[in-house]
Structures are given as C-alpha cells and as structure tokens.
C-alpha cells in the first residue's frame, strides 16, 4: 500500500504533521478552541483514504515545487527582484482528468480540462520595462494584461473556448480578461510558438489566440488570488515576502503565469505539466530613499524559512554590477556561482533558505557614483505621430546594437478603432528602405476584428529601424465610448521577437528548464527575447454626449422640411383664389383709426 505513496513528497505521518501545522496557523488568529476536533476529522478522513484505496493517488505523480528569488541591482538606479515559482506535475497526458491535483492548483487544472488547453501564458503588469537601461527581464511582459493560449488541435470551437477561458481567467485572477473576445484577439503566425514540448507534426496558428488589454490596471486584487495558486500560499517561503503594500509602489511590477507541457526526461518520452508563476519587481532607489537595499526595505519583512513543500528554495543576487560598483552582502552568501552563458560571465551570490530567519541586504561603499550602462543588443520603442484628431501614424523604432544582422519578428495588433492603411507602411533602416522578408496582414473590421500586422525583418548591424503606418481617427457611436471618453483609447504594445546569438544582458530561462538555477551555465544556440514596446493612448474625437434627443429632433426637422414642400408640390394644384378683403392688421388699423377719429371729434366738441 505504501508504494502508492512513495511518489508523494511526504509520508503519511508527515502529512498529518503538516496538516496540524496548517490548521494551527489558520486558527491562530481566529479560534484555537476547535483545532482538536478538526484534527480528529482530518485523521478520520485520512484513514478513510487509506482504506478505500482511492485511485486519485495515481494521478498525483511526481510533483515538484521550486521557489527562487533573483535580486539584480540594475545598471541604472533600480534594483530588480524576480520571484520564480515552478510546479511540475508528472501528469499522464492521455488521461484527460485534471481534478486530482497535489501541488498543482486545482483551479487551473479545471480550466485546462474544460477548455482543452495546451499552453497558457498570462501576465499582469504595471509600468513599463525599460530595456535600454535595465537589460532583459527573466520573463517578458507587456504593460497591462496580456494572455495567449494554445489550444489542443482537437478543440471544437476555439473562439468560443477562448472567450470562456478569458471569462474564467477574469474570475481566477480578478482582472478584466472578460473584455477579451474575437474583436481584440489575433492568431500570430511567428511570434508566439509553443514554448513547451508538443507532439504535433505541424504547428497551426489557428490553435493560438493572443490578446492584450493595455488599459488594465494591476493591483492588490490580482496579487491575492495569484498567491493562492502557490502550494504554500503566502504563509511560508518566498511568497511570504509578497506584501502588496510594498509591491505596488514599485516602478514596474508584473505577475505572470506560464503553463506548458515539458519533457519529463532528457529523451522526452513522456511529458509533464509545468506551471511557472513569477513576480517581477523593479524598485527605484529614488522611491526607496537609498541605494542600500534590504529585504526590510524591499518587502517590508524578512524571510521566516522556506516553503516545506518546495524541493529547491534559493535566493540569488546578481553580482554583475558589483564589478563597477562594489556592494557588500549581509549575511555572506552560502556560495558564489559563476555562470558562463552565451559568451558572458556572470557571478551570482547564492543563498539556500534555511528554516532560520533570513534578511539579505546590500550595502554600497560609496553612495554617489554613476554606473556604466550597457544597452542590450535589441530593444524597441513605439509612439504616435501627427496632430489633431483626424489622421495620425504609428511608429515603431527597433534598435539593433549587435555587430551583425539580426532577424526579428515584429507583431502589431492594432485595435479596430484605429484603422491603418497598409499601403502607407514604411520601413526605413539607417536612412535606407528595408523590405520585410515576410509580411502577414489581416485587415481589421469595425467592432469585429483587430488589424494584425506581423513581419519578419532582417535588421542590418548597428541600425535603427523605423516602421511607420498611417491611421485615421474614427468616430464611434456615443454609447461605445468609455465613461471617461476623453481619457482616450489604448493601442497595445508591439512585440519584437528575436533569437539573440549572445546572452548579453540576458537573464531569461532556457526553454528546457523552469528554474533560475538551471539558467546558470546554460549556453544555447540562441536566446529568445520578446521585447514589448510602450502602450499608446489616442483620444478619439467625441460627440456631445448630452444631446442625443436634440440631434434626433433637429435632423428629423430638416428631413420634414423637405417632406412638407414636396408633399405640397406633388399632391396639390395651383389655383387662383380671391384675395381676402381685409387682413387682421388692416382691421385693427381701421378700428384704431375710427377710435382716433372719434376721440378727435369728442375733443373738438
């Protein structure tokens, strides 16, 4: 019987211990009175499980959970903290039941099952990642909300499932994903390939849906349900550092969820399901008040120990800036790892989280020094041109700082209320016209479909490429404007994807791994970066919202103005009519005259 339980992380007695610990923690704030009775019922339930030999044990498989935190003082005046949680679930893909989960959040399991999902990627971001001064993040994310999903090829109605999925996700993460439907979703062909392993012979982009909600504001209400997806919640381990009060006053904060199947072994005979949950934060020294950072400053508290369910709990501090600007770490790291990746050597201070209290701080010797910035190989901007509310243009600017040519894919999903003219598309690189290798375009439709432009460009070395396209400002029905109509409408960010040959400023994870630890010394043939540009806001011309009745009345009056005379001309005949002898005015005049005459007469008398 115990063989069934070997795959579990804990033995039976450990489970009881754990449960007791949990219940204590739960009840400590509320009422300790009931804890014994609850424990007894728990025990009974557990014994019942043993007795009935429930098959669900089979589904648990070999689950692992890892938690990691990377702290990277950036070359500019910011410090970057990235929490990486990963759950892998050795799930047999042939069994389509996802109800019985162990460390994996059951809520997501249900979503996968119901909507037939192959891969799911969600990010909720506040602020903009500044590639030019911060380098590349571990996980790229667009400002606002972004979601893309690969459905399994046998999904019946992908559009319908996509809409339902978006609605479910909006409930799961308390966000506005419910605004996603076909009118703002696209199926990009090159930019978003499946990240995990697949057994598909061909990859058909019709199984993919991508949408972004640039207007989404990310705050505490998204973080709280996000933390609940973690096995230890936010009670223990690194997640306990995620205090909303300290997270949402950062310069950039992004929570992300990436779900994909991965190879279980090197030979990839079977697959596991992997869920990466990450929180990226960029703290500004100006907001912190000092360059010397510490857990207390960043998260408001220290760490009380690791999550007992995790198989790896590490903290890394990137020491790359330490060369130019030395800082001391307290306590001293357990070890210093040297990572040689893609031609670049980097040092990391590594801390294994012990059950003891831990608070790491970095202290600079000299406070007022300027760092030497190392701009990354590829980054991009996006902005609007033109003035007034009649005609404008969208310009994307891609910088290639690499010494050789780079092949990039530019994806632009432009909302239907910004009709673009493809014939005005101009690509100029270092003053010369550049032709895209491939250009995909699906014209948008008002209220139905966004404009989708995707192109493959071969950027010349050390170049600055401008991609511009013209659009018209359109006029919506008055009920289609949002409550604050003059705030404007958002255009989502463009996505520039490329495989960089060198891992300069690169901190991303390799495709085959799910932990930061495995990214050390992980040299590959290319390093995928997906640079997201700024969101843009355009203020569409607005009608006067206060006068629908007036407009209806006035226009109908003008229409009636034509109807009257035309009706007269066509239905009546001209005839001669005797003149009326006297009009009213004449009558009054006459009367007045006689009165005056009488008055004059009486006076003279």
């Amino acid at each position: 019987m115990s063989t069934f339980y070997i795959p579990l992380v804990f033995s039976g007695t450990q489970v009881i211990k754990e449960i007791r610990k949990w219940v204590y923690r739960e009840l400590s704030e509320k009422n300790r009175f009931y804890d014994d009775s609850i424990l007894i019922t728990m025990k009974i339930v557990l014994i019942l499980c043993f007795l009935v030999k429930i098959q669900l044990v089979l589904c648990y498989g070999n689950d692992t959970f890892t938690e990691e935190l990377l702290i990277k003082p950036l070359f500019s005046d910011q410090v970057y903290a990235h929490f990486q949680f990963a759950v892998t679930w050795d799930k047999d893909p042939t069994i389509k039941k996802y109800h019985h989960t162990h460390l994996f959040p059951r809520a997501l399991g249900e979503i996968i099952e119901r909507h037939n999902i192959h891969e799911l990627h969600i990010s909720l971001t506040g602020g903009l990642w500044r590639y030019e001064s911060w380098g590349y993040p571990v996980v790229d994310a667009a400002p606002g909300a972004e979601v893309w999903a690969w459905f399994k090829p046998d999904t019946v109605d992908i559009d319908q499932n996509w809409k339902l999925l978006a609605n479910t996700l909006s409930g799961l993460l308390c966000s506005s994903f419910n605004f996603i439907d076909v009118s703002n979703s696209i199926s990009p062909e090159f930019s978003f390939r499946p990240r995990g392993s697949t057994d598909w012979t061909t990859v058909n982009s019709t199984w993919l849906r991508y949408a972004s909600l640039p207007r989404e504001i990310v705050c505490t209400e998204n973080l709280t349900p996000f933390k609940k997806l973690l096995p230890c919640d936010s009670k223990l381990g690194l997640a306990s550092l995620l205090n909303s009060g300290f997270i949402h006053n950062t310069k950039y904060h992004s929570i992300a969820l990436h779900l994909r199947p991965i190879c279980r072994t090197e030979t990839c005979e079977s697959v596991s399901l992997e869920l990466q949950l990450s929180v990226s934060l960029v703290y500004d020294y100006a907001i912190l008040g000092t360059r010397n950072w510490s857990f207390k400053k960043l998260f408001g508290q220290g760490l009380e120990g690791k999550c007992p369910l995790s198989s790896r709990s590490n903290i890394y501090v990137d020491l790359s800036t330490s060369d130019s600007k030395k800082f001391d770490l307290t306590p001293t790291p357990d070890e210093v790892v040297t990572s040689i990746r893609g031609g670049f050597v980097n040092k990391y201070a590594l801390y294994h989280i012990s059950p003891n209290f831990l608070s790491i701080s970095g202290r600079y010797e000299d406070d007022n020094e300027i760092f030497v910035k190392k701009p990354p190989s590829l980054y991009a901007n996006q902005y609007l041109i033109g003035y007034g509310q009649e005609r404008g243009g969208i310009v994307s600017k891609i910088y290639n700082n690499h010494w050789s040519a780079l092949e990039v894919v530019l994806l632009q999903s432009i909302a239907w209320y910004v009709p673009v003219y493809l014939h005005t598309l101009k690509i100029v690189s270092n003053g010369e016209i550049l032709k895209p290798t491939i250009l995909k375009y699906i014209p948008g439709k008002q209220r139905e479909r966004p404009y989708y432009i995707e192109m493959v460009l071969n950027l010349p070395p050390l170049s600055e490429t401008l991609i511009s396209v013209d659009f018209d400002y359109i006029f919506l029905k008055w009920q289609e404007y949002p409550p604050d109509a003059n705030h404007g409408f958002y255009i989502g960010s463009a996505v520039v994807s490329s495989y960089l040959p060198l891992a300069k400023n690169f901190t991303g994870l390799p495709q085959d791994s799910s932990t930061i630890y495995s990214s050390f010394n992980a040299s590959r043939s290319g390093y995928l970066v997906q640079v997201r540009t700024e969101n843009m806001v355009i203020t569409l011309p607005t009608p006067d919202f206060s006068m629908p009745y007036n407009v209806i009345c006035l226009t109908c009056t003008v229409v009636a103005l034509a109807f009257g005379p035309l009706h007269n001309i066509t239905t009546k005949r001209l005839i001669l009519k005797k003149k009326c002898e006297t009009t009213l005015v004449q009558k009054l005049k006459l009367k007045f005259e006689t009165i005056r005459k009488q008055l004059v007469k009486s006076k003279s008398d």
């Binding site: 009649e390 009709p419 029905k477 103005l561 009519k577 003149k579």
Partner: protein
C-alpha cells in the same frame, strides 16, 4: 422661294459660325479648367484638400482605393477588411486606369472631370434645343408671358453656362483636385443623362447600371428613364425593353463583380455599408451625427426610414407630377439623393448644381435664390473653420460642425423645392397668363 432658301442658307451659315465660336469657347474653357486643376493638384494643397472629410468620404476616398489596390497586389482580399467600399469592377477599372492608361492619377481625375463637362455640355445643348423648339411657337401662349419663354440665344447660352457651372464650380473643382472618386461616378451619371437626352437606350441603361452598381441610389433613376423612353417610343411596352437592358447590364456587372472577388463579401462592403452606415466619419450629410447619437435600439428603425426617405419616398409622387418632364424629374431625384444619401460629398453637390442653368427660364419664379446662395456660401466657409476648431484646436465640439451640415442640407432643400415650385408656377403662368385676376378682381395663387 429663292428668298427663303437664301435665308435658310444664311441661317445655316450663321449657325455654323455660331457653332465654331462656341466650340472654340468650349475648348478654351476646358483647357483653362484642366490647367487650373493640374496646377492645384501638383501643389502642396492637394493632400490638404484630399484629407478633408467633405471631399473624401469613406465611399469616395482615393486613399481607400489605393489601400484596396495595394492589398490586391499583395494577394490579400481587400474585402476582408472594411476600409474599401468600391466594387471589384471599379477597383479593376481604377487599377487599369491609374497604372496602365494614365500613370499619373491626377491626369485620370482631370480626364474624367473634363469628360463629365463635355457630356453635360452636349446633353444640355441637345435638351435646350429641344426645349427651345418646343416653345418656339409663341402664339400658343398668352402675350404677357413671352418674356418667360426661352429667348432666341437660349440653346447657345445654357450649355455654355452649364459648362462653366461645372468646370469652375468650387465644389467639383475641389472634388477633382482632392481625388474624390465621386467625380468618376459622376462621369457615368453624366453619361446616363447624355444617353437619355440623345435617346440612346443602350448607352443610358449601361451608364445607369454602372452608376447603380457603385451605389444603389441611382437605381431610382430608372423611373425617369422609363418615362422618357415611353414618351420617345410612345409605347410603354417598348420602354420596358430599356428596363430589360438595364437589368441585363446590372446582372452582368454583378456577375463580373462576383467572378472577380470570388465571393459575395463585396456586397456587404459596398451596399451594406452604404445602407447601414457603420462608418460614422463626419460628412456634409445628415446621417453621421444622427447615427452617432441615436439610441441603439432605434438604430434599425431610423436607418431604414432614412434610406427610404433618400430613395423611394419621393420617387412615386414626383414621377407622377413630372411624368411629362423626365429631365426635370431626373435632376430633382439626383438632388434629393445628394441631400439625403448616407455619404454625400462636395462633388455630388457640385454635379447637381451645374444643372441649374437649365432652369434659366424659371429664374423669375424663384424666391429663395438669395437665401440659398448666402447659406451655401456661409456654410462652405464655416464648415472647414469649425472642423478645425473641433478637431485640431479642441475649442469647439461636434455640435458646431453638425449645425453647419444642417444649414447645408436646409439650403439644398430650399433650392430643390424652390425650383420645383417655380416649375409648377411657370407651367401655370404659361397656361393662364401673367395676370392673376378672377372676374377682374385681384387674386392670389395658392396650392390646394
């Protein structure tokens, strides 16, 4: 006998010199107009003019045609999106015209504008001559109304006036300079009028079929066409043949459209969008602000009533009233379409305004010429000004521009009702004389 032949010879000679004179005048005018157009087109003002919504509506914007041609060249179905509202045939036509025949787009637009002017000139020349002939016998009319009859040089004057009114009309001029494809649509409308006046059923029905394939509004001109040919042939069944011609052409064009685009998607893009007005870009018409502001659940009701108002509401009563004057009926219907269609542009108005010299004889009966002239002038100046204030300097709002378009529509309505009213009065006066007296007493003319 000798005398008479001599006089007729003399008259013929005189007519010939007259003709040569007018010919040289026409050529001069056409050259001048073409030159002026080309001058403005090659200046920086071309894009400014073309960007104005009064000139380039979604239906007749050259930029959208360019987009369609570009998508076509990249093998993307231009009817997949909703920017293009021209038919596949029209698109191919523009492609051939702009890429193979003319190379220079401005030359294409000038060519079609000059063509329209010539057709209008020829049509009105013929019509004015007929009209003059009809009223030549002055003995039929009371003596005091002779001044209301077309004078001796009438049929020489009117076509020239029409030519000038078309070529130097600021509305058509701006439309041509701004590459409004309405100018090319108007060419076919002019061809229709030309064919009708010259009594060519094939030309007129083909031109009408082309016009109605571009937008469905000209379909109602079938009524004057039928009336005209039933008068010419003096048989209603024979006139039905013209209608049959028309239907065949329409079928052929639709068939060709369909085979070009390989689907019926274009129907929704062309006719669907003209009927349901999904694009609420402002123009000089009445639709845009109304359907921006109307409540969603009334939208359908108003769309259909507005479109019926623009098409068949006045069709039957006017056809009955002016059943003996198909030319006037045509112009009245064209006028009403221009006022009430969903995406009117300045070219449309310029085109119908250039027909006005045909009503020279009604001048004495028109009452609202000054009002209409002043309103048109004021609104033409105010519209771009208020547009700038609204869109660029954000110091006015949509209501200002809407007010101007209302006044614009009112001016046109006054104009068309005034002319029709004058026509009825003119007919009455020719019949009953100028004196409005009953039993020797002063009387009033009134409609009853």
């Amino acid at each position: 006998m000798k005398m008479s032949t001599l006089s007729s010879k003399h008259a013929k000679k005189k007519e010939n010199t007259y003709f040569l004179q007018s010919c040289s005048k026409v050529v001069l005018l056409l050259c001048l107009a073409a030159f002026l157009r080309y001058l403005v087109m090659s200046s920086k003002y071309q894009t400014i003019i073309a960007n104005h919504f009064e000139i380039s509506t979604p239906i007749c914007s050259w930029k959208r045609v360019q987009e369609g041609l570009f998508l076509l060249s990249r093998n993307i179905d231009p009817y997949d999106g909703d920017l293009l509202h021209e038919t596949p045939t029209a698109l191919i036509f523009y492609k051939i015209m702009s890429q193979n025949v003319f190379r220079d787009v401005s030359l294409m637009f000038i060519f079609f504008d000059i063509g329209t002017a010539l057709l209008l000139y020829a049509a009105t020349r013929h019509y004015a001559k007929q009209f003059h002939q009809e009223h030549r016998d002055r003995t039929k009319y009371p003596k005091d109304v002779h001044e209301y009859l077309p004078s001796e040089g009438y049929y020489e004057k009117v076509p020239l006036y029409v030519l000038v009114a078309f070529l130097f009309n600021p509305y058509t001029f701006l439309g041509c300079v701004g590459y409004s494809t309405a100018g090319i649509h108007n060419f076919f409308l002019a061809l229709f009028v030309f064919g009708m006046v010259y009594g060519s059923p094939i030309v007129s029905s083909l031109a009408l079929a082309i016009c109605s394939s571009v937008s469905f509004y000209p379909l109602i001109l079938l009524s004057p066409l039928y009336i005209y040919y039933s008068q010419v042939y003096k048989s209603k069944t024979k006139a039905l043949l013209v209608v049959l011609y028309f239907l065949t052409y329409v079928y052929l064009i639709t068939f060709y459209n369909n085979s070009l685009s390989k689907s019926f998607k274009f129907i929704n893009n062309v006719y669907g969008s003209i009927w349901t007005v999904p694009d609420l870009q402002p123009n000089i018409g009445l639709f845009w602000y109304f359907f921006t502001e109307v409540f969603d659940h009334f939208r359908e009701l108003f769309i259909h009533s507005f479109q019926i108002n623009a098409t068949i509401l006045y069709l039957v009563p006017l056809s009955i009233k002016f059943s003996n004057r198909p030319f006037i009926l045509t112009i009245a219907l064209l006028f009403l379409i221009t006022i009430f269609k969903s995406y009117p542009c300045l070219s449309d108005l310029g085109f119908v305004l250039s027909f006005l010299p045909n009503f020279l004889h009604l001048y004495a009966f028109c009452q609202q010429g000054v009002i209409v002239g002043v309103i048109l002038f004021m609104t033409s100046c105010l519209a771009p000004t208020l547009w700038h204030l609204w869109i660029y300097s954000a110091s006015a709002n949509a209501n200002f521009y809407f007010g101007v378009t209302l006044a614009y529509a009112i001016a046109q309505i006054f104009l068309v009702t005034d002319i029709l009213f004058a026509q009825t009065k003119w007919e009455f006066t020719l019949k009953h004389g100028r004196e409005a007296k009953i039993d020797g007493e002063d009387a009033d003319l009134s409609l009853e």
